[in-house]
Amino acid sequence: MLAGKDLSMIDALTISLTGILMVFTELVLLAFAVVIISKVVGAFSKGKNSSKTTDNTTNSKSDAVPLPETQSRGEIDLIDVSQEDAAVIMAIVSNKSGIPLNRLVFNSIKLLEEE
C-alpha cells in the first residue's frame, strides 16, 4: 500500500496508532470469540453430561489446583541419578506412553552401579 514511499514522523505516528488499534481490535475480537466458544461448548456439553467433554476430570475433585500436564505428581527417590536425567526419563515415559506426567507416579529411579 505504501511500499517505497517516504514517511514523515506524523505518518509514522499515524501508522503506529492504527497498528496498535488493529492489534487490540483483533485480539479483543478473539477474546469475545473465546467467550462465545466457551459458552456454546458449555451449553452443548451440559446437554450430554459435562463430564464427557472435559479433560482430566478424574483429578478435578481431589486437587485444589490441577497440576499442569507437564508436572508429575508425588515424591521421587533419585538414587545416583541426577535431577536432569530423571526428568528426561520421566518425560520419555510420559511422552511415549501418551499419559500426561501429572497422572504418572515414579517411585524411584536408580542408576545401576557395578555390583
Binding site: 509514522a12 485480539l27 477474546a31 472435559t54
Partner: protein
C-alpha cells in the same frame, strides 16, 4: 607449470591471502555468539546454528553464499551460470527467502503450544496486545533515526515481537538486506529476557501488586481447545490477510496437537520437521551476516532499537496489567503482563520468578502462559499489518 607455480597459485587462492578485516571481525563476533550459545546457553537451538553460519559465510573465498545464477538476487547474476553453481548455503537459504522455513517452524511451535491458559482467561489476549507497544515504538524510533526506509523500520520494529519466525518472515519480505542483524538481535534479546525484564517490571509495579495471588484457572474442555485454532485462523486472516501463512501454520500445528487424531503428524511437526528446519534456517540466516553488510552503523542501530523494542514491549504489558489490577480490584497480578511479549516460555518464567520473590507462595506460571501465547498471535497480527502497508 612447475611445483613452485602450483604452490604459489594455491597459496594465492587460499583464504589467508584474501581475508578482509570485516571478515576477521565477523569471525570474532561469531565466536562470541558461539560462546554465548554453548557456555551461557542463550537460546542455543538457534544461536549456535546462526553463529556457525556466520563463521562459514565470513571465511573468505568459499563461495558458500554466492549467487552467480541470480536466484535470490538478480544483481549478482553471472552470464552462463546455472542454478547449481550457487553456493550450498545460498540454495538452502531459498527456504528462508520463500518463507517456507519460518512457516514450518511455526507449525512445530503450534504443536508444542498449549492455549489452555489463554482460553481459560480470555483477558490474557489484551495483555498480549499491549505488549506489542514495543513494536510500534521501535518502528517510530527507527524512522526518527533517518537511516532506515519505512520497510526497514517496520522489520526492525518486529524484533519487539520477541518471536524469531515472525521477525524472520517479516524481514525477509520487507528488508532482506537486514535479515542477519535482525535475526541475531531478536534471538539474542529473547535469550536475555531474564536480564531485560525484571528491572522494568519492578520499576512499574508496587510490592503489593506483585504479591497478588491469582485465582485458579478453570479447566478447559477438549472441544474448546480444538475450536480455538480454527477460529483464530479465520478471524486473524479475514482481518489481516497477509498473516495467513504464519498464523495458519501455527494454528494447524496446534490443531494437530489438540485434535488428538493425528498424533504422528503432531509428533513429527514438533520433532524431526522443526529440528531439520531449525538447522537449515539457523545456518543460512547466520550466513547472511557477511562482514561487508553487517559491519555498518545500521547494525549497531538495530542492536539499540531491538533493546528499546523489548523494553517498551515489557512496559506496555506491565502497564496494562496494572490497569487490570485496578479494574478487577486487585485480582490480576500486573507481573503477568510482561509475559505478553511472547518469547515463550522464558517471559512467563520471569513472571513466575518475580512473583515468587514478592510472595514465596505465589505461583504465576500458568497465569502468565495466557498472555505469553497471546503475544505470539499479537506480534503476528502486527507483522501482518506492516506487510499489508509496506508489502509489494
Amino acid at each position: 607449470m612447475n611445483f613452485v607455480d602450483v604452490l604459489r597459485d594455491t597459496i594465492a587462492n587460499s583464504g589467508f591471502a584474501i581475508l578482509t578485516w570485516q571478515q576477521g571481525v565477523m569471525m570474532i563476533v561469531s565466536f562470541i555468539l558461539l560462546y554465548l550459545a554453548i557456555v551461557k546457553k542463550f537460546e542455543p537451538l538457534l544461536l549456535l546454528p546462526i553463529a556457525f553460519g556466520m563463521l562459514l559465510a565470513n571465511l573468505p573465498g568459499t563461495g558458500i553464499m554466492a549467487d552467480p545464477a541470480g536466484i535470490m538476487d538478480a544483481s549478482q547474476a553471472i552470464p552462463g551460470a546455472r542454478w547449481y553453481d550457487d553456493g550450498v548455503l545460498r540454495l538452502i537459504y531459498a527456504g528462508v527467502k520463500s518463507s517456507i522455513f519460518p512457516c514450518l517452524i511455526f507449525l512445530g511451535v503450534g504443536a508444542m503450544t498449549d492455549f489452555g491458559p489463554l482460553i481459560a482467561r480470555p483477558s490474557s489476549l489484551l495483555l498480549g496486545a499491549a505488549a506489542q507497544f514495543g513494536i510500534f515504538m521501535a518502528f517510530m524510533a527507527s524512522l526518527a533515526l533517518g537511516i532506515f526506509t519505512p520497510e526497514q523500520a517496520a522489520a526492525i520494529g518486529i524484533i519487539g515481537g520477541a518471536d524469531g519466525p515472525t521477525a524472520i518472515f517479516t524481514a525477509s519480505k520487507l528488508a532482506p538486506e537486514l535479515l542477519g542483524p535482525i535475526a541475531v538481535a531478536a534471538y539474542s534479546y529473547m535469550a536475555l529476557i531474564p536480564l531485560i525484564q525484571p528491572p522494568i517490571m519492578r520499576a512499574l509495579t508496587t510490592e503489593k501488586e506483585r504479591e497478588v495471588k491469582m485465582e485458579q484457572l478453570r479447566e478447559v474442555s477438549k472441544a474448546e481447545k480444538i475450536i480455538f485454532p480454527i477460529v483464530v485462523t479465520v478471524l486473524c486472516t479475514l482481518m489481516i490477510p497477509d498473516v495467513a501463512a504464519l498464523i495458519g501454520m501455527l494454528m494447524l500445528g496446534n490443531l494437530f496437537k489438540e485434535s488428538g487424531v493425528v498424533e504422528r503428524l503432531s509428533d513429527t511437526a514438533q520433532n524431526a520437521l522443526i529440528n531439520i528446519v531449525t538447522i537449515m534456517l539457523g545456518v543460512t540466516v547466520g550466513a547472511t551476516a557477511e562482514g561487508a553488510i553487517f559491519l555498518k552503523v545500521q547494525t549497531l542501530a538495530i542492536v539499540g532499537l531491538g533493546l528499546l523494542a523489548f523494553a517498551f514491549a515489557t512496559a506496555g504489558g506491565v502497564l496494562l496489567g496494572k490497569l487490570m489490577y485496578y479494574v478487577t480490584k486487585g485480582k490480576v497480578n500486573p507481573l503477568i503482563g510482561s509475559a505478553g511479549v511472547s518469547a515463550v516460555p522464558m517471559a512467563a518464567r520471569v513472571s513466575q520468578v518475580e512473583g515468587q520473590k514478592a510472595n514465596p507462595s505465589n505461583f504465576l506460571l500458568m497465569h502468565a502462559m495466557g498472555p505469553n501465547v497471546a503475544g505470539v498471535i499479537g506480534s503476528a497480527v502486527a507483522a501482518g499489518f506492516f506487510l499489508l502497508l509496506f508489502g509489494s
